[in-house]
């Protein structure tokens, strides 16, 4: 894996792996690869934890793990997937791809970029180091609600390490967002106006804006939690004049934008892939951009829809705002369909995963509109219905887009193509496995199964539904293992990959695979959001004059 590749992309002599150069790199491409590798590592860790959780829940009153261990497991699973996998993967992908897409030589602040990665890596290790303490890792959920998380008996230094680790990761995320916004505003190549940047780049700008607005609140909330735990604070303690609801307001003011931080980059990923494999431009470019910012803006005003059952928030305000978010999301969906419409569609693995994304995310979006209605949320909240909803959007959505992105940009990053036959098997295993796992959870929740329980009622439909879900999880695990195998076997294939193996559109496909250290030797003229397509089809009018 060398960042210095011959320009033609032909097989270069194997360079000795220079660890020091990776530890001191400020090259956005290398930092992107570091992020991707680290987040895939956490995918395996958090996924492995999920297999343990599903095995425990495969039958009622199971004794695979005890309650204290189980509580650590679901806490680490959620924390790792949310803070250490989904967003870091997106940021790593964007680190590699975004400067190339706008024709920039690197990010605006290369050393800050590297700092963000190392702080993220260390933060994740700090979170997991709680496992080594005598009391175990944090065990209050990824949401760490006060007053439970203030109680030392519910979490000793493991909880503190969780707080510190998440603080570090949030700092890293904020710093990278500053980098992305500055890079896109300042370092675009000649002719790359804001209305010609790819949709993925736009989504990263919207994501970064959201991070800037939301993450500082998390930082404050966690600091207040530390103060309540160790410095005699009473922010969240009613006996001292505080209020547990305050924690929830602060947490969800961050927490809801966070879920959009976790999906917007992946809207961008499918917006890049679908046009390539439909052989048409993205439909409704302007609408997609406006929708991204509408989603970002509205998402700052819906946080208390996570608090409908507290009885302490204005339900109609938050319900109304939550319904509104469905509108720009729907616009995006119709624009993607418009891209497919009257196209010439092929189904390479990136496109399969993108179609899977559309189908899964649609269901997650529909259940999301349902729980935006407090009367439905009064039943669904804190039950497996919510677990189903969140996994459909984050698993069926973001995770599928992660695989789409991996298959699509792997040749650009590593100069190797992943095997298509294994890729198709991976897709079907994941798609079937995912739906077998999470579709039953809607019914589990409505049948009365709450979240975060290590066992459940032996009577009724729950045992069968849970067993089915566990089978689906094992199917997914096979798919992930097959993907790892794909990486290994395709690494041995030295067939050179040209600059544009897919017949794609945006600027990163104008340079070699992998790109040279300075990114581009020459740039094609930029007259639309598809400069590489335009260069391939000089007989067509670029179409966008802006």
């Amino acid at each position: 894996m060398s960042a210095l590749a011959a320009e033609t992309g032909s097989a270069e002599p194997r360079e000795r792996f220079d660890a020091l150069s990776w530890l001191t790199t400020t090259d956005h491409k290398r930092i992107g690869i570091l992020y991707v590798c680290t987040s895939l590592f956490y995918l395996c860790v958090a996924g492995g934890i999920a297999i343990v959780i599903r095995t425990q829940l495969s039958r009622p009153e199971n004794t695979l793990v005890s309650a204290p261990v189980y509580n650590q497991l679901f806490t680490l699973h959620g924390t790792a997937m949310i803070f250490l996998m989904v967003t870091p993967f997106a940021f790593g992908l964007a680190n590699f791809v975004l400067p190339l897409q706008i024709g920039a030589p690197d990010m605006a602040f290369p050393r800050l970029n590297a700092l963000s990665f190392w702080v993220f890596l260390c933060g994740g290790l700090v979170v997991f180091s709680g496992v080594l303490t005598s009391g175990g890792a944090a065990a209050t959920g990824w949401t760490a609600y006060a007053p439970l998380s203030v109680l030392r008996i519910a979490g000793g230094s493991g909880q503190d390490l969780w707080i510190v680790g998440v603080l570090m990761v949030s700092i890293a995320t904020i710093l990278t967002s500053i980098n992305f916004i500055t890079t896109v505003f300042i370092y675009r190549a000649p002719g790359m106006t804001m209305w010609r940047i790819p949709i993925f780049t736009w989504e990263m700008v919207a994501t970064s804006l959201l991070v800037l607005m939301a993450f500082p609140t998390l930082t404050a909330d966690l600091a207040m939690l530390l103060i309540d735990r160790h410095l005699g604070g009473h922010f969240f303690d009613p006996a001292g004049g505080g209020n547990p609801i305050l924690y929830q307001h602060l947490f969800w003011f961050f927490g809801h934008p966070e879920v959009y931080v976790m999906i917007l980059p992946y809207f961008g990923v499918v917006s890049e892939i679908i046009p390539v494999f439909s052989r048409k431009p993205i439909f409704g470019y302007t609408g997609l951009v406006l929708a991204a910012f509408a989603i970002a803006g509205l998402s700052m005003g819906v946080w208390a829809h996570h608090m409908f059952t507290t009885g302490a928030v204005d339900d109609p305000f938050f319900s109304f705002m939550s319904f509104l978010i469905a509108v720009p999301t729907g616009v995006k969906f119709f624009n993607w369909i418009g891209t497919l419409w009257r196209g010439s569609i092929t189904f390479a693995t990136p496109m399969l995963f993108s179609m899977g994304f559309l189908m899964n995310f649609l269901l997650g979006g529909i259940t999301g509109v349902m729980i935006a209605s407090p009367p439905i949320d009064f039943q669904a909240h804190a039950s497996y219905f919510i677990v189903a909803h969140m996994h459909y959007v984050l698993g069926g959505g973001s995770l599928f887009a992660i695989f789409a992105a991996l298959f699509f940009w792997w040749p650009k990053m590593f100069g190797r193509k992943l095997r298509e036959d294994l890729g198709k098997w991976t897709f079907w295993l994941l798609f079937i496995g995912f739906n077998v796992t999470f579709l039953p959870m809607h019914f589990m929740g409505l049948a009365g199964m709450p979240r975060r329980v290590y066992t459940y009622d032996a009577s009724g439909p729950l045992p069968l539904l849970n067993f089915i879900a566990t089978c689906g999880a094992y199917l997914m695990a096979v798919g992930v293992v097959l993907f790892a195998y794909n990486i290994v076997v395709s690494a041995r294939d030295r067939t050179p990959v040209g600059p544009d193996p897919w017949g794609a559109n945006s600027l990163e496909w104008a340079t070699s695979s992998p790109p040279p250290e300075t990114n581009f030797d020459t740039l094609p003229p930029i007259r639309s959001e598809r400069p590489v397509f335009d260069a391939r089809h000089p007989e067509l009018d670029p179409g966008l004059a802006r």
């Binding site: 150069s21 530890l23 001191t24 400020t26 090259d27 706008i102 030589p105 290369p110 050393r111 800050l112 970029n113 590297a114 700092l115 990665f117 190392w118 702080v119 890596l121 260390c122 933060g123 290790l125 700090v126 230094s157 503190d160 390490l161 510190v164 680790g165 570090m168 700092i171 300042i186 675009r188 190549a189 000649p190 002719g191 790359m192 106006t193 804001m194 209305w195 010609r196 700008v205 800037l212 607005m213 609801i245 305050l246 307001h249 602060l250 003011f253 910012f293 803006g297 700052m300 005003g301 946080w303 928030v313 204005d314 305000f317 020459t522 740039l523 003229p525 930029i526 007259r527 802006r546």
Partner: protein, 125 residues
């Protein structure tokens, strides 16, 4: 007016509308404070951009520009390698872990951060 400035201005305007709407509809102080901070932050950035952008002339904003606009010009220098990021992250980790496990480690981390900060300033000057 660049797209970037328009983005922050419209975000700030939206935030101001939302914080007012939220206060008058719900009278809930915590959410109002948070939305207020958000509106203030966005307005601050928008204001700064208005001032800073007076002289901005990016070749990226020129729809008819091509590569020749960028050739021959040294835009700036940026480092390709640096030990500072990893060292700073390690120092920050010491501070964090030290907060939980041992004040000595935290103190060492803070000293390291100060030293690295000084090194950074010296390198940039």
């Amino acid at each position: 007016m660049t797209i970037g400035l328009r983005l922050f201005l419209s975000s700030a305007a939206f935030a101001i509308v939302i914080v007012l709407a939220y206060w008058f509809i719900t009278r809930e102080p915590a959410g109002t404070a948070l939305l207020g901070f958000m509106a203030f932050g966005l307005s601050f950035v928008a204001g700064y951009m208005i001032v800073a952008e007076r002289e901005a002339d990016l070749w990226g904003d020129d729809a008819r520009a091509d590569n020749s606009a960028a050739t021959g010009e040294t835009v700036g220098e940026y480092s390709v390698r640096s030990p500072l990021p990893l060292a700073t992250a390690a120092a920050l980790t010491c501070v964090g872990l030290g907060l939980v496990i041992s004040p000595t480690v935290a103190a060492l981390g803070i000293i390291a951060l100060l030293g690295l900060g000084a090194l950074f300033i010296v390198q940039s000057v």
